[in-house]
Subunit: 245 residues, 2 copies
């Protein structure tokens, strides 16, 4: 089957076309502006693959965790394509992408994205029987919490990948010593080619969905929501000081 | 520094723009026809990166081993750009690219490309002190010769990467058993983003060259040369049978 995959979840964006297990073409860029490039990237990757939209059998997109704006732009673009082309969509978790790119058989592996505000989004996997088992679900963690979680998952070597791992590299190395094994530099950003491969597996397992059922996975409230809550709390303080004290 | 990298050596092609240690954009595709796409890919990757040819400080290109036609097309395109822009070029070995993409600190690693005619192009590396040391230079080897070479380099685990390793995967697993550690699927094709990173290191070490000094590394005679040699030998047999017997 032919899949078009789109990724705009993190600080990069990409699009890829895969035919069965082969990546036919991929486009990747730093995301200074997702909106400016995403449909251009889709058109470019289709041209490189020698296919058109009409040749596609399915779509895949990263659904989170990641940037609120990035996720919404990617999902909206893919939902638009899916409705117009009458195709189903595989929603792919970003940390699954990072883990898959770095894993060797037998690894215990933590994938982590820089979540800003002093946190990472992290999940833990074991690579076994040619596949990946998620042994800790995605969470937003502070470095100290992440180290505690790592210590609970394995006493042996821990493969670390993603820009969240690079962000706190010194902390990880100090705490884990020689147990910390960093993935090659090439693996630390999610690639749409890998999104396509994982999307294909979701289709094969019957887990692709109609576009209207696709929902982002945020893990955390947006900066806007937090700011609003603070403003409400603060205005509450001013108007009802007696109740607060 | 800003580098544009081009790779057309193997059965894929790509172009990437990197700014210092950051990959700004990359385009990747299966190479059904290098010639049809290479300058289109260069234009696409520049547009994605937000830069123009005038912004570049240097060029990088894979110089081999690989397909004769692919290498000549990539080198010609990059030489043309380098002459026009008055830039130096870093010539990058393809197996170095594959090794870098897959290596973790401490690894002994063999990178191999399918060289057709029952051979692989293979080289061996050790990842140490944050860098790579090549402990066996590139050679064209038959699977049996490759296994002998592997047995001479390490008694421990061997990380295997590249489409040459996938080609003879069963042979490697049978001979090496649990010592055979295959790189993640994501690593097996060279990526222009990695060519850019290695090109940058060659520039920093003063090993970039003027375009006229750039030469492909073939390791083997071309099919055309072999066919010509056979025809000459065969015509020699016909015209001078007495001398041969």
């Amino acid at each position: 089957m032919r899949i078009l995959a789109v990724d705009t979840a993190a600080r990069v964006f990409g699009a890829a076309v895969a035919e069965d297990s082969e990546v036919r073409a991929e486009v990747f860029a730093r995301a200074d502006s997702h909106a400016r490039h995403i449909m251009g990237a889709v058109e470019a990757v289709l041209a490189l693959s020698g296919h058109s939209l009409a040749d596609l059998d399915g779509l895949a997109v990263t659904i989170g965790p990641g940037s609120f704006t990035g996720l919404r732009i990617g999902l909206s673009a893919v939902q638009g394509l899916a409705v117009a082309l009458d195709l189903r969509v595989a929603g792919v978790m970003v940390l699954d992408v990072l883990a898959r790119q770095a894993a060797r058989e037998g690894d215990t592996l933590w994938a982590a994205l820089d979540a800003k505000r002093g946190q990472v989004y992290a999940a833990c996997y074991r690579a076994e029987h040619g596949g990946m088992v998620k042994i800790r679900e995605e969470q937003a963690l502070e470095p100290r919490e992440w180290l505690e979680a790592i210590s609970e998952t394995t006493p042996g070597p821990v493969v670390l990948t993603g820009d969240g791992a690079l962000l706190v590299r010194d902390v990880l190395v100090e705490a884990l010593g020689a147990r910390a094994v960093f993935a090659p530099g090439h693996c630390h950003a999610p690639r749409a080619a890998t999104v396509a491969m994982l999307g294909r597996e979701l289709f094969a397992a019957g887990n692709a969905v109609p576009p209207e059922d696709l929902a982002p996975v945020y893990l955390r409230k947006s900066d806007a929501e937090i700011a609003l809550a603070k403003r409400l709390e603060s205005s509450g303080k001013h108007s009802k000081p007696a109740e607060r004290d």
